[in-house]
Symmetry: C2
């Protein structure tokens, strides 16, 4: 097995820097769009283990990345808790029901890692079988604050002001909801590991819209609980935490019971390493827009990034998901630049 | 004249902390909505000096703030350069023509501070007359990168990937456009000061989507040129630079030829002061969402913020524009908390 990414996550020696891309399975690949066109919508793809497996494997073969990540969506968790959603093409997620009161929260289920979200577990099992030990498979979930934001707001938003309003006006209820999401998320991640995931990543996409204090109270607390719970069950499975735009929380993130901290492109590699210290592996952080440029720019900017991070305790990636209109050859250029680095 | 804000900006002693709100003139006030309903759209209001004057003065009387800010829009500059735009209700700005080539850039005008945007200059003159020396009037403009982003993208965007693509793929053309915007902006701000503005603020709303290096090359360079140009003409007029989400640039911002650095709510007051040093006044940075909560929470969070900033070299404000659905009484609670602080 090419276990570079696992070893890099644990701080062990690696022959070369491992590389993968957030959103590597998806719209950048014509092969993905072909599969996507077979079904009604994005969610049908997510819920069909065979097709989810197929698109998970596409970038493994086409891009030659060092890890697969299960094709899914962070919003399957709130749906399993009792809030179904629609994924509206070129608009984003939309929840018909949202959380407005304690009553709404009481009605929510806590996701079990065994019976619930079976389609994700089945997809993971299929992928593992197909990968046949060649490279590791990453499982994932949204961080409780990010899931909370969608459950209260009902859709994407620039400010998530409804969600933040609830935090400020009713911290008690907010914590109640966050606790339920956290338990669901721990169970879900543990379920993914039981099904075969070799590593898991927690995405806190809306970390950056909270103040440092609010972030500590309403997000970090729960990420920390999830890390502890997963580690209690699986001490040797690496955990990555990616808190987008949460530059202000880097020091606190470095104290989490996790192995890898994801960085977006606004965070300077050298400065971030100073703040986080030597105890964590860093992952990131090329601006996805760099992949719009020509090969020589992609190489130049990627090499500079790699040099700034250094070979030890580093996993190369973008600073966010790859943009859907990125050319596949440009993605390959990035991956090859990392792989040829010495 | 209540010149607290001018003195605070220059680092002089103040009896109490001055306070105003970004977007204080606007939808939070029922009096604004009444005026707004008299005209077809937002832009008609911006272009009508009498009405722009009226809504500029509303928060002065209703909220008792320590400064007025001229009611206008940062996108009047690209429009005066040759790219007209529509402000679509509850969607945002939309440019029919965008910048795609050198040819498009060549066709653009450089805004003069005398003949162009006369409606803004006229509005400023009217406001100054009405204020009659009671409190200072703030003029403003967008930072060149933010204006560039709209001129290339044509509308708001989560990623501004078209605009960033141009930076990466054609830095030369990008600099050409940024230079034209910068000259226009300097002229425009100088024109506003000539018309009576007592202080000016540069808004870099999309600062936070660039990497630290890209931000230095494509944004800070031009903000710096504008500060120098304005200061050359008006050494004693204070300049505020508000680069939203550009936590990574605080140290470089502290070197600008300006007086005040605006901070958003993700930036810790104490940490920011350490990075920026004692040479600048800080402005900000309450999370606008705090104003959704009850009086006691607003007071508690505001007081903590004020204590963290300290009385010297500080202008109280939100960390971003006030959200349109904020209750006026809650805004007043914030303002009174600042004013009663000792």
């Amino acid at each position: 097995m090419n276990d570079l990414i696992i070893r890099a996550a644990k701080g062990e020696k690696v022959e070369r820097i491992p590389v993968w891309l957030m959103r590597q399975a998806g719209r950048i690949l014509p092969q993905y769009r072909k599969v996507r066109n077979k079904v009604k919508d994005f969610k049908e793809l997510v819920k069909n283990p065979e097709l989810a497996c197929e698109v998970t494997l596409q970038p493994v073969n086409i891009l030659n990345v060092d890890a697969a990540i299960i094709f899914s969506d962070i919003l399957v968790v709130p749906e399993a808790m009792g809030l179904p959603y629609l994924m509206i093409e070129s608009k984003g997620p939309y929840f018909e029901k949202t959380i407005k009161s304690v009553k709404d929260i009481k009605k929510l289920n806590i996701v079990s890692g065994r019976e619930d979200l079976k389609y994700v577990m089945d997809a993971i099992k299929l992928v593992k079988k197909e990968l046949n030990g060649s490279i590791p498979l990453i499982g994932f979930a949204g961080a409780p604050w990010t899931i909370f934001a969608y459950m209260v707001e009902g859709q994407g938003s620039k400010t998530f002001s409804k969600a933040k309003k609830l935090l400020y006006t009713n911290p008690l209820i907010s914590h109640e909801l966050l606790t339920k999401i956290s338990k669901s998320t721990s169970n879900y991640l543990i379920g993914q590991i039981n099904s075969g995931a070799d590593m898991v990543q927690i995405f806190d996409s809306w970390a950056g819209i909270l103040s440092p204090e609010m972030y500590a109270e309403f997000s970090l607390k729960y990420i920390s609980e999830i890390c502890d719970e997963v580690k209690k069950n699986f001490p040797s499975i690496p955990i990555t935490v990616f808190a987008k735009d949460a530059f202000f929380a880097l020091q606190k993130l470095s104290k989490l019971n996790c192995n890898v901290i994801g960085l977006d492109w606004t965070m300077d590699p050298v400065e971030s390493r100073k703040i986080i210290g030597p105890g964590k592996t860093l992952q990131g952080n090329l601006d996805p827009c760099v992949l719009y440029s020509d090969f020589s720019t992609i190489k130049k900017v990627s090499l500079k990034m790699i040099q700034n991070f250094g070979k030890h305790r580093y996993i190369a990636n973008l600073g966010h998901g790859v943009y859907p209109d990125t050319k596949v050859d440009n993605v390959k250029c990035f991956i090859d630049t990392v792989k040829n680095y010495n």
